[in-house]
Amino acid sequence: MKGWRPSPPLLLLLPAVIVLAAVVMVPLLLSLYSSFTPFRLTRPETFWVFIGARNYVTILTSRDFWIAFARTVVLLTVALNLEMLIGLGLALLVEKASRGQRVLRTIMMFPMMFSPILVGFQFKFMFNDNIGLVNNALQALGLTDRAIPWLIDGNLAFIAILTAEIWSSTSVFAILILAGLLAMPREPVEAARVDGCTPWQTFRYVTWPFIMPFAFIAMTIRSLDVARAYDIVKIMTDGGPAGRTELVWTLVARTAYGDARMGMANAMAYFSILLSILFTVYFYRKLAAARTQIAAEW
């Protein structure tokens, strides 16, 4: 091997690769293996029993799993779209403000500092049917005379979770889209206005293409940890009532630590990992496409 020297970028990336391999890749391979065993934490010897794809068959034929999986996809789709729309609205509002933009931007980042578990407790507190702010306010305003069972009814609980999720993550979109708006050159907008575009046309054909890559950056960042929602749901309802808000992640946690069925839980976990990867790769490719488009225009 004398005379051969590894290239500098390889050397520089080596520590990152080693750490990620040790803490993420190797454990994941281990869990891939154990997803083919009936491994239970309480009975270590089961780790060496190979049962083929039986765990996967059980999961794929399980109604509860598919419902949880579908609910997770729906939650993510609705949440990401709403976050994007509200974030865009917020960014436009702040950009139009003539004074105090710095302060507004700082306030806008506020939810980002809250730990997801804190967001969960906070909204559990506010949506509490008896002492929560939401019910108290609704009753005080005379909009309803009985306590709305926010976290007890399945559908309402879903809405409550969605609200918490949106509150905590919209700022990522708002901040990045605002950055896009501020970085945008002024001339095209003015030119469009002189040419007689309506405000909507100006936005749709001039502003939006400019800020689109920024929206995709936000989407990519967000999709990197969509599983944050686990913390929120775990605290607010823990999958209840009667499994009505069960997501893939809470199901995995329950199967693994509640029932101690590690093998089964690992098989489920692989589906949740797949889901996260799909979301990320999708937005990353969108980002790459938007980037080449921008590079061509700027």
């Binding site: 040790a22 281990l30 730990s115 950055a179 599983a227 990867i277 979301f279």
Partner: protein, 288 residues
């Protein structure tokens, strides 16, 4: 009314609508936080009151006093949790920054085989949901005997933070013109010297904000910490929050107080970095 004043009135109406919209949006963002601070200062009787007491009759720091007065006197070992959180977050951040700087520099300054695939691959390790990762880690850590230790959690958080740190630092190094380091090298610096004396100081504020972002991730993480910690040896603040929940009841006031304690450091740090953070995220991603 002539055309001119009609237009002016329309503009004014628009401005008012805009102001109201902005105010409402900011209110919604701030309200949960304000409510938590307020609730931590009110006696439990007032929080539980039916019909609700809107205007606080008496404010006190009782919840904080109780919290810090230690186990057995209505408190929780909050100082231990705080210390654990601080040790784990700071150490893992420093290591993640060191590794991230090397990686980010490689992505910003070199061309190499399968660069973008490599980048995506690193990012994908970050997408593994904490709860999914906790299953094998729990097993491995139990075997190695590093469950409920600072070391175990630090190791995990370093891995958690490295991909995103690389993304951010890559962006900050891109903002530093390549010519500067090259000029320094022509003037007789080695590449190593050029990096530390030219590029590093220029990218410094950005790297600091990447560090703070990593710190916040570790500070706030729950899914992994809740499985890999057991006792006051290594429990962090987010896990400690659960101490305020009993089977069917939650001590809302105490929880709100702990929440405030948890958020204040995060709040302060974010204010410091907010400007750089956005710059790093966007420049890395838009300029390719």
């Amino acid at each position: 009314m002539d055309q001119n004043s009609l237009h002016r009135a329309g503009n004014k109406a628009l401005r008012i609508v805009h102001g109201i919209g902005l105010f409402l949006a900011m209110l919604v963002i701030c309200l949960p936080g304000i409510w938590i601070v307020l609730s931590s200062l009110r006696p439990t009787v007032e929080i539980m009151a039916k019909p609700p007491v809107w205007i606080p009759q008496q404010l006190s720091l009782d919840a904080y006093v109780a919290m810090f007065s230690g186990v057995g006197k209505g408190g929780i070992p909050v100082l231990d949790y705080f210390r654990n959180s601080l040790i784990i977050s700071v150490t893992s951040t420093l290591i993640a920054i060191a590794i991230g700087m090397a990686g980010g520099y490689a992505f910003a300054r070199y061309r190499f085989h399968a660069k973008s695939a490599m980048f995506l691959g690193l990012m994908l390790t970050r997408t593994v949901p904490g709860i999914a990762l906790s299953l094998p880690l729990f097993f491995v850590f139990a075997r190695l005997g590093i469950i409920d230790t600072h070391f175990g959690l630090i190791l995990v958080y370093v891995a958690l933070n490295v991909p995103f740190t690389i993304w951010l630092i890559d962006g900050f190094f891109r903002q530093v013109p390549k010519d500067l380091a090259e000029a320094a090298q022509i003037d007789g610096c080695t590449r190593w010297q050029a990096f530390w004396q030219v590029e590093f100081p220029l990218a410094g504020p950005g790297i600091a904000s990447a560090g703070i972002f990593a710190f916040l991730t570790s500070w706030n993480e729950f899914a992994l910490a809740s499985q890999l910690t057991r006792s006051i040896n290594s429990k962090t603040l987010p896990v400690g929050l659960l101490d305020y929940t009993a089977e069917f009841t939650i001590d809302w006031r105490g929880m709100c107080a702990l929440a405030v304690v948890m958020v204040i450091p995060a709040l302060t740090l974010t204010f410091i970095v907010q400007k750089h953070l956005v710059g790093g995220l966007t420049s890395g991603a838009v300029k390719g």
